[in-house]
C-alpha cells in the first residue's frame, strides 16, 4: 500500500507546484476568475446603462426646439458650480465612463477568448440555437464600440459633423440626420444597443446574484422594457428629423 501510494503523492505534489499560484488579494482573485471578470462586466455595464437612460431623456429635448436643446447642453457644463469648475462634472463623468468602457471591453475580450478556446471543435450537426440577442452580444459589442468612436467625433468634437458648430448641438444633430449615412449608422447602433441591453441586463442580474426563480419574469420584463424604451427613445430623434418634426 505504502509503495503504491508514494509515487502518486509525489505526482500530486508536482502537479500542485506547477499550478499557478493564486493571488491573495480580493481584487486579484476577482479579476483572475471568470465569475469575477463577469462581475466587472456587470457593474461597468450597469454604469453605462444608467448613463444611457440619462442621455436618452436629455435627447428628447430636441423636440422642444433649438433654444431648449442648446440651453440644456449648456446647463450640463454648469452642473456642480460653484463647487466644481465649468465643465468639470462633464469631465469627471467622461473619465468614469471611459473607465467603464475599457473595463467592460477588456473583460469581454478576455472572457471571449476563454469561451472560444473552451469549445475548439464545433459540432457537425448544429441544432439548438440561443436567442438572437444572446448570439449577437459579441458582434453587437464591437459595433457599439465603433459607434461610440464615430458618435464622439460627430457630436462631441464635431470633427465629422457636416455642421460641427460648438455650443449648437441642435443644429449639429439635425445636420447629422440630414445625411443618409448618419441615419444608417445610428439605426444599426441603436438596434444593437437594444439587443445588447436585452441580454446584458438579464445576464448582469444573474452574475451579481440578484436573480431568483420568483424574480426571473420581472427581470426579463425589465430587460425587454429597458431595451425597447431606450431604442425607441434614441431612434425618435433621427425619425423626428426625417419626418420634419425637428428641423
Amino acid at each position: 500500500m505504502a509503495l503504491a501510494t508514494r509515487p502518486e503523492q509525489r505526482d500530486k505534489q508536482q502537479r500542485e507546484k506547477q499550478r499557478p499560484t493564486r493571488p491573495v488579494s480580493t481584487a486579484g482573485r476577482l479579476w483572475r476568475s471568470t465569475i469575477g471578470k463577469k462581475t466587472v462586466m456587470a457593474v461597468s455595464g450597469a454604469v453605462m446603462l444608467l448613463y444611457l437612460i440619462a442621455h436618452m431623456v436629455g435627447n428628447l429635448k430636441v423636440f422642444f426646439g433649438p433654444d431648449d436643446m442648446n440651453s440644456y447642453a449648456h446647463w450640463l457644463r454648469t452642473i456642480g458650480e460653484p463647487v466644481l469648475h465649468h465643465e468639470w462634472f462633464l469631465w469627471i463623468m467622461r473619465v468614469a465612463l471611459l473607465a467603464a468602457v475599457i473595463a467592460h471591453g477588456v473583460a469581454a475580450y478576455q472572457l471571449s477568448r476563454l469561451d472560444i478556446a473552451a469549445r475548439p471543435v464545433k459540432y457537425v450537426h448544429q441544432r439548438r440555437r440561443t436567442s438572437y440577442a444572446t448570439r449577437t452580444m459579441r458582434w453587437g459589442g464591437i459595433i457599439l464600440a465603433l459607434f461610440i468612436v464615430w458618435h464622439i467625433l460627430d457630436l462631441t468634437t464635431g470633427t465629422v459633423n457636416p455642421n460641427g458648430e460648438h455650443g449648437r448641438p441642435y443644429e449639429n444633430i439635425v445636420a447629422t440626420f440630414d445625411t443618409w449615412y448618419g441615419n444608417v449608422i445610428y439605426f444599426v447602433a441603436m438596434i444593437a444597443v437594444g439587443l445588447h441591453i436585452r441580454h446584458g441586463f438579464y445576464g448582469a442580474a444573474q452574475t451579481l446574484g440578484v436573480g431568483s426563480p420568483t424574480r426571473d419574469r420581472a427581470l426579463k420584463v425589465t430587460a425587454n422594457g429597458l431595451a425597447l424604451i431606450l431604442t425607441i427613445g434614441f431612434l425618435s430623434v433621427p425619425i423626428g428629423v426625417m419626418t420634419g418634426v425637428v428641423e
Binding site: 482573485r29 471568470t34 463577469k38 462581475t39 475548439p120 439548438r128 441580454h199 444573474q206 426571473d216
Partner: protein
C-alpha cells in the same frame, strides 16, 4: 425501422476523427438508443470491424455515463439520458448524427468516449463536507430546515453527465459546479467550508479550461435532472459573498 447513422469515429486521443456512415436495419421502436447502438456494434463485430466505443453503465438514467450528442442535442431530442431515450422518438429512414461531447476540458478518448475526469477534480477541490468518521451521528443532532433540504436535494440530483458542458456554446461547467456548491452550501453540514468550497471549486473549474457562463440557458435545456438556471445565480452570489469575506 431502418436508419442511417453518421457516427464520429476516432481511434485514439491524438488521432484525427471523422463522421462515418452506417446503416442499421430492423430497429424496434421499443429499443433504447444504446440498444440500437449495441445492434450496430454486433453487426460491426460480425463483419470484423471495430465496434463503436461509447460510455454506458447503469442504463437506468441515474449514473450519467452515456453521454453523446444526437442530432446536435446532448442526449438527443428528449430531455433525458441517452439510455432512457427510445427509438420511437425517431422515424423510419431518419439520418441520425452522433457526436461526442465537445469541450476542451473533455478530450475525446475514442469515438464517442470523452475523458470527464475534469469533473472529478472540480468535486475533489470542494465538493465534500468534512465530518468525523466512526459511528453514524445521531440523526436529529443537526436540524435541517425543510426548504433547505428540498433545495439541497434538487441540486444533489446532478449525475455529472456533462450534458451542460456539451450544450453550452462556451463549454462552461457552471451548471455542474453550481449544482454541487448549492447542494452543500445550503445544508448546515456544508456550513464550515461554505466560502472555501465555492472559491476553490470555481478556481478549479477555470483551471480545467471550461469557458465562462454567458447566461444562454442552453445547459438547462438539456440537463436530464432539471438543475435550474437559478443554481448558477446562487453560485455567483455565494462566490461574491465568499470574496467579500476574504477567505
Amino acid at each position: 425501422m431502418n436508419l442511417t447513422l453518421r457516427i464520429w469515429r476516432q481511434t485514439g486521443p491524438d488521432t484525427e476523427g471523422a463522421m462515418t456512415t452506417y446503416e442499421v436495419t430492423d430497429v424496434s421502436p421499443d429499443m433504447s438508443f444504446l440498444e440500437m447502438l449495441d445492434t450496430l456494434n454486433e453487426d460491426l463485430i460480425l463483419r470484423g470491424e471495430e465496434p463503436v466505443a461509447f460510455d454506458h453503465d447503469c442504463r437506468e438514467g441515474i449514473c450519467g455515463a452515456c453521454g453523446m450528442v444526437i442530432n446536435g442535442n446532448a442526449h438527443g431530442p428528449e430531455r433525458t439520458t441517452t439510455c432512457q431515450l427510445h427509438m420511437r422518438q425517431f422515424e423510419d429512414g431518419d439520418v441520425i448524427d452522433i457526436e461526442p461531447w465537445r469541450a476542451a476540458a473533455f478530450p475525446v478518448v475514442k469515438d464517442l468516449v470523452v475523458d470527464r475526469s475534469a469533473f472529478d477534480r472540480i468535486i475533489g477541490s470542494g465538493g465534500y463536507v468534512t465530518a468525523p468518521t466512526g459511528s453514524a451521528p445521531e440523526a436529529h443532532a443537526t436540524p435541517v430546515p425543510k426548504a433547505a433540504a428540498d433545495t439541497a436535494f434538487e441540486h444533489a440530483e446532478c449525475i455529472g453527465c456533462g450534458a451542460c458542458v456539451a450544450a453550452c456554446p462556451n463549454g462552461s461547467a457552471m451548471l455542474f459546479t453550481s449544482a454541487k456548491v448549492v447542494h452543500l452550501n445550503t445544508l448546515p453540514q456544508g456550513g464550515p467550508e461554505r466560502e472555501s468550497r465555492v472559491l476553490d471549486m470555481v478556481d478549479t473549474m477555470d483551471d480545467e479550461g471550461f469557458g465562462g457562463c454567458t447566461n444562454t440557458g442552453m445547459c438547462t435545456t438539456v440537463c436530464p435532472k432539471g438543475i435550474p438556471m437559478s443554481s448558477i445565480t446562487t453560485m455567483n452570489r455565494e462566490y461574491l459573498r465568499a470574496l467579500r469575506k476574504g477567505v
